[in-house]
Amino acid sequence: MTTRRRGLTVLVGVLAAAASVSGQVREWTTYSGDMLGQRHSPLTQITADNVKNLELQWVFQARSLEKFEATPLVVDGIMYTVQPPNDVVAMDAATGRVFWVYPYIPSPLARLCCGRVNRGLAIHENTLYMATIDGRLIAIDAKTGGLVWNIAVGGARPDTGYSLTVAPLVVKDKVIIGTAGGEYGVRGFLAAFDAKSGREVWRFHTIAGPGEPGAETWAGDSWKTGGGSIWVTGTYDADLNLTYWGVGNPGPDWNGDGRLGDNLYSDSVVALDADTGALKWHFQFTPHDVYDYDAVQIPVLADIQWQGKPRKAMLFGNRNGFFYVLDRTNGQFLLGKTFTKVTWTSGLDAKGRPQNMVPLTEDGVLIYPGVQGGTNWYSPAFSPRTNLFYLPMWGDTYSTFTKRPVEYKEGQRFTGALPAMPIRLLTPGPSINRRRPEEGWGGIQAIDPNTGEKKWEYKMADVVDAGVLSTASDLLFTGGREGYALVLDAKTGALLWKANVGGSVSNGPMTYMLGGRQYVAFAAGSSLFVYALRQ
């Protein structure tokens, strides 16, 4: 495949996602596999009938025992991924044999709330882009593994808590990233860099400051430490030239007394002009959040029939327990419905604003869903064939939230009291689950965007930290914390195949076609497992 053709594929990924597969090669060129965030592949070699013949082809073992959250890219027959925290690896995608490793040692000053992780790379022509946990954006030659440039992202000082874990998004000739660090009192931002030079082209502050619309939603100087992390990759609508990103929680997480107001644009989805970074619209899911229900999900773009008419929709399965449908041209709220038990609000009004939000107290208050949310950063999928939205979700999870005083100190955690919950944080290694079902479980739900109704649900005993991949043969590829890689029937949710990969499936599975064979890659534990049909 030529450079020119690949450039085209990236640019018109929107179209490519819907195109049929005529050749023997099918690549995976962005975090979600397309610019729409659907994580849906047109590949059909693996079907419900032959899925029983899936066979392990090769394994990549990361040197790190950190959670393996990267979705690999496959371009020109080469798989590129990131070994946590920030080593880039190039492998032969058919055999897994390694061509080169670009090792990067992040500054020891880097601090992260939730793991020294990375969610993957972006590619533009022959250059790979990686954002690092110590606040740098690195461009690497995709052929040689040699450095092109390594820039400090302005203002993202790692010693003050800024970090980058997101897979960048390339839109035209720009590389877009966003900062994490919402647990350290940073002021988050999205920024676009020229793909050739690394020069910053635009910046959008996810926390509105003086002179910016939304500044009035922050009391006093609280915007300075307002958080608003970007944890996962945004999406892009080429027709509207808008790029969409989910924004994380306000800081401090679990005490809102010092930041009275709605705290824009925390817990929101923002729609930005891809050329200038100008805000076109926003929708805030959880105003003045005190539960850490950040909107760290993929804003999935889908053209659906809404009440009998075609509509450019955005589907958003939110950490706060609601599934939302928005009009992505203007941010209009169309639908919001719970997909898990929710007690933090009595419900949404006609504009989607939550009513009667439960305040935190010094004695502690038990709230559903728990602090990890009804879902989290793991990618959902949308199939234009079934017209269903597939959401990895947690059921019956709750936490006791307790209000405690919190003071900002540069570089220190700025959160308040960590809520208690029966489900332990994910750690590498074997998983143990001795909980009762009412203490939390996991599942994959198929949701009808027209009604918000659950079409089916596949339940797991333990929770899920994995994304979902949909294919045009109406299969779903996913997994769970208990260590199974799974294939489900996209129409019914029936389990078609499983393999014990021995560690929590920790990324969004992806698929590619090479040499006439369809491969599927799951990261689990600290390794990447690649399957194809037995020959």
Binding site: F99, R136, K143, G146
Partner: protein, 253 residues
């Protein structure tokens, strides 16, 4: 692994004994330590050990310790309250890093001419035709190694040698290889990896390629660098300018 542990264990004992006799480490200690140092330490300390202000690890003197034992503890434990992090090196590995650092102090850097980076850059892009094979910051070709951050890992004296005698010390990362396939095609490129069943190359055409050994008639890792010697192409001052330019390439902005 066991073998390496034994070797490093021997290294420790030997190094400790040698310490009393004036740090007479083995060449293997120094080489191993150099690889570890360049892979893990140069981002802060620089290739010559003087990357952190007021610290010069290449001087043969250390501010916080004198004996190898003292410095091994610092390499492994870090220095709390500073940017020096703890590491996962074994004592044997840390010992080889010290061997390497002590070797820097005794390696000849005298006699090197002072160069000018701007003139060196002009030579790099002009008369030297370096970009025909090498790239810096994405500009240039892929035949030879990318030099975008070569100044962050290679010492001036090493760069000078690589320019004058390119085949004298080809790093294993940059070994040229030639493959002749059973159907008669000859493929040349840089050896990236190999195993019992496959060979992986960056072809001179710029393509990453995995070859099944069952399809290969001949496979050779070449000892001659495809890079020409610049001994007679550039004068001593020009070489010094080029070296000075290369040492400025740290990759980070």
């Amino acid at each position: 692994m066991v073998k390496r542990a034994i070797l490093t264990a021997i290294g420790i004992v030997w190094a400790a004994a040698a310490h009393a006799q004036g740090h007479g480490y083995t060449p293997a200690d120094i080489e191993n330590g150099g690889l570890l140092y360049q892979g893990n330490c140069t981002a802060c300390h620089g290739p010559d050990g003087d990357g952190v202000p007021s610290i010069n690890l290449g001087s043969g003197k250390f501010r916080r310790g004198t004996t190898d034992d003292e410095i091994v503890k610092i390499i492994i434990g870090g220095i709390p309250g500073t940017a020096m992090p703890p590491s996962s090196f074994s004592e044997g590995q840390a010992g080889t890093i010290i061997a390497y650092l002590r070797s820097l102090a005794s390696s000849p850097t005298t006699g090197m001419l002072k160069g000018d980076a701007a003139r060196g850059q002009a030579l790099f892009t002009g008369k030297g035709q370096c970009q025909n094979c090498h790239s810096v910051a994405g500009v240039g070709a892929r035949g030879g190694p990318s030099l975008s951050e070569v100044g962050g890992s290679r010492r001036a004296i090493e760069l000078q040698r690589a320019i004058v005698e390119p085949s004298a010390d080809i790093r294993s990362d940059h070994r040229p290889a030639r493959v002749v396939t059973r159907d008669g095609a000859t493929i040349t490129g840089r050896l990236l990896n190999q195993d019992t069943f496959t060979v992986q190359l960056l072809e001179n055409s710029g393509r990453l390629r995995l070859l099944d050994k069952s399809t290969i008639k001949e496979f050779a890792i070449l000892k001659e660098s495809p890079m020409p010697s610049y001994k007679d192409k550039l004068n001593a001052q020009e070489i010094a300018d080029l070296v000075t330019y290369l040492t400025t390439l740290k990759g980070r902005r």
